[in-house]
């Protein structure tokens, strides 16, 4: 009696499926590279596949964490890739104009300028979405299209290369034997989790995502919350932009952060956050971003030709999304499965879902976190 229920509780935890996929992907590597999990100490730095997965995945984690909050309010931010490019371009072009590229004050100022630009982009998105009431997908499309042009304008269509030691630290440096960017990511994730789960902010964000109008009526300033999440998302994208340009010591207005918005949205979805808004899981997003990065690494290690990378990615996206679709599971695993796990609280009857097996990770997340409005119908 107790074992199945514990198993059920485990499989119903919102992090179960994303983590299972991650572990599975990691294990796939072992037959191909037996020392996949080993971490070596070389020259004071830790090296190993796991470290590099986190290192290369860190910009994506940052962008995806910002995206999670935006999606939790029922929005979406397509402009993050362009913001990544703009931030990198501004910071690098400022540094390259300095006489002493390694001067700390110059680097800090450059980073400040870059992040300020990111915040301005976020404010603009937030203004369009919250004040003008424009659909988020369109409002952010503007910067997605124009932003890359602006980034190219800043770099004059060239790839600006710089040679700055302090700037190199953010994306390519080491600190306490680990890549510095891991610490940046850890700090951002920790602050986000603390702000959203230790204060009422997370609840407010979910409430706005559940029903913005109802939230406003109960006295939540939903517009302000919305603007805030877009600014936060752009800021995360800005930090990721600094990281990417610092890692390569170059700013490429055309290719920096290309398609990162799609990867980030994917990471959020894999992590179990519903695109409908109203609930979110930062932990799930981090796992989701790691899944995507591990997938890329795995494709390299198991020797699949790199050109099939995208096909694999598409396959994983489809499988993960299908697994998360209650309707798909009801159809494939049969009515028995649906009946056993029967409709739980929070499922709207009738119209939308048939026999909804409540094992959807996102849904469990909602029930445990008691978001005020769980279904946007």
């Amino acid at each position: 009696m107790s074992t199945p229920s514990r198993w059920r509780a485990l499989t119903h935890h919102h992090l179960f499926w994303p983590t299972a996929v991650l572990v599975l992907l990691l294990l796939v590597n072992v037959p191909f590279t037996p020392d996949f999990f080993s971490i070596k100490m070389t020259g004071g730095h830790l090296y190993g596949s796991l470290v590099s997965i986190v290192l290369f995945g860190s910009p994506l984690i940052l962008v995806a964490v910002g995206m999670t909050l935006v999606i939790a309010t029922g929005g979406i931010d397509l402009s993050v890739g362009a913001v990544v490019a703009i931030t990198g371009a501004l910071a690098c072009s400022y540094i390259s104009d300095q006489a002493d590229q390694s001067a700390l004050s110059g680097v800090l100022l450059a980073m400040g300028i870059g992040l300020l630009a990111a915040v301005v982009c976020g404010l603009w998105n937030g203004f369009l979405v919250a004040r003008m009431g424009i659909q988020p997908i369109i409002a952010t499309l503007i910067i997605m299209v124009a932003g890359r042009g602006v980034a190219q304008l800043i770099t004059d269509g060239q790839i600006i290369t710089i040679n700055s030691e302090p700037y190199k630290l953010i994306g390519g440096g080491y600190w306490l034997t680990l890549p510095f960017s891991i610490f940046v990511v850890a700090v951002v994730v920790a602050i986000t989790v603390a702000l959203t789960r230790k204060t009422a902010l997370g609840l407010l964000v979910e409430s706005v995502g559940g029903n913005a109008e109802a939230s406003r009526l109960v006295g939540i300033r939903s517009r302000r919350i919305k603007i805030m999440v877009y600014v936060f998302c752009a800021l995360c994208a800005g930090i990721a932009g600094l990281m990417i340009s610092s890692n390569t010591s170059a700013a490429d207005g055309n290719n920096a952060g290309l398609w990162i918005e799609l990867d980030a949205i994917l990471a959020v979805v894999i992590g179990g956050t519903s695109l409908l808004g109203g609930r979110f899981s930062i932990g799930g997003t981090v796992v989701g971003a790691l899944v995507i990065q591990t997938l890329t690494t795995t494709i390299y290690t198991i020797g699949v030709p790199t050109q099939t990378n995208l096909v694999f990615k598409a396959a994983v996206v489809i499988v993960v999304c299908l697994l998360q679709s209650p309707k798909f599971r009801a159809k494939v695993f049969g009515a028995k499965f649906g009946a056993r796990f029967g409709p739980k609280s929070g499922s709207t009857p009738g119209a939308k879902d048939g026999g909804k097996p409540a094992a959807a990770p996102s849904e469990t997340a909602a029930t445990t976190e008691a978001a005020p409005q769980m279904e946007v119908s």
Partner: protein, 340 residues
């Protein structure tokens, strides 16, 4: 426009003021876009008249150089009218160029056989996406995103390098000119215009077209009315897939090669053209004729930047973004008026 000083209650009454009626007119965005196109064209005329801007062929070239975008945007119009979105357009175009080039050059198949295959593959891809979207209730955004990855990946699976097409049928087709008195059109442009006319007919004069509008306007109501919602949705994505494949064929004709990186990001151009053409991204309102003007405006920006000479190509993106923004705000103003 001049009578906006009326009290707000007037818009609520049975006979709305002329200004409100004008703003609420669904045809207004299309007219605005058409007007914008005219203004831009006249501005271009006055500025570059000494450089041959006035020649009719410059105008014809707008159709020739953007034929593939027009076809892709027509497909996107269907999807957006139904309230969905299709991100796989660019990838599918790229994939079609690769597939066509590969089949013609490497497999030696005649073009007559290749064209139906390419169109079939595109339509089937769209059908699959529509099927998943409808039957498993996954958001169109995510499903077509997977399609974007899949088709771009399949391009690379076919070949990492671009394949140029030396087939004589293709090159003779590409060089065929359809004379129109003052200028000429390419075969691609003619096909694009035919597709546009077909889409216009389907959307405004058939049952299927009305269903597309109904579902885009309010899916719940459409369902309660008993409209075959699933079939329509799947059909819409199939149409989009077909149009993308056709756009891919036109692109192949235009550029005479297949390249895994062809048409990257063209889904954005297509969506931008549809929005600038006055179609609401929420679905249910818009005209495919507007899409034509949207594509023409985007094309005109490109040719003006070419005529200017000193402007770099990235100004195209910035100008597109600014226009997009302006039109979204106009649409917003319109829908806000309608509600009050």
């Amino acid at each position: 426009m001049t009578t906006t000083t009326q009290p707000p209650a007037a818009t609520d009454s049975r006979t709305p003021s002329r200004a409100a009626r004008l703003l609420g007119d669904r045809r207004l965005p299309v007219l605005v876009t058409a007007l914008l196109f005219l203004v831009m064209y006249v501005a271009g005329l006055s500025r570059y008249v000494n450089y041959g801007f006035a020649e009719p062929q410059v105008f014809m070239n707008l159709f020739i150089d953007n034929s593939y975008l027009l076809v892709a945007a027509v497909g996107a119009t269907f999807v957006i009218l139904s309230g969905g979105i299709d991100l796989s357009v660019g990838s599918l175009i790229g994939f079609t160029t690769m597939l066509t080039a590969w089949l013609v050059e490497r497999q030696g198949l005649p073009l007559v056989v290749v064209v139906p295959i390419a169109l079939g593959v595109g339509a089937f891809g769209g059908f699959l996406m529509g099927y998943v979207i409808h039957n498993f209730e996954i958001q169109p955004f995510i499903v077509t995103l997977a399609g974007l990855f899949l088709f771009r990946g399949l391009c690379l699976v076919i070949s990492k390098e671009s394949i140029s097409i030396g087939d004589s049928t293709v090159s003779s087709l590409a060089q065929t000119q359809v004379s129109l008195g003052a200028g000429f059109l390419s075969v691609g442009a003619v096909i694009a215009l035919v597709v546009l006319a077909g889409a216009f007919y389907v959307l405004h004069y058939t049952r299927f077209g009305r269903r597309v509008y109904a579902i885009g306007g309010n899916e719940q109501s459409a369902m309660l009315m008993g409209l075959p919602q699933g079939g329509t949705k799947i059909a819409v994505y199939t149409v989009s897939g077909f149009c993308s494949a056709l756009a891919g064929l036109l692109f192949t004709l235009y550029i005479q090669s297949g390249d895994p990186l062809h048409a990257t990001g063209m889904e954005l151009d297509a969506i931008a053209a549809v929005v600038i053409g006055g179609t609401l991204l929420t679905g249910g309102s818009g005209y495919v004729v507007g899409t034509l003007f949207g594509v023409l405006v985007l094309g005109l920006i490109k040719s003006i930047i070419q005529f200017e000479g000193t402007l770099s190509s990235w100004w195209t993106k910035i100008a597109t973004g600014v226009l997009l923004c302006a039109f979204i705000l106009i649409q917003r103003a319109m829908t806000a008026r309608k509600k009050t």
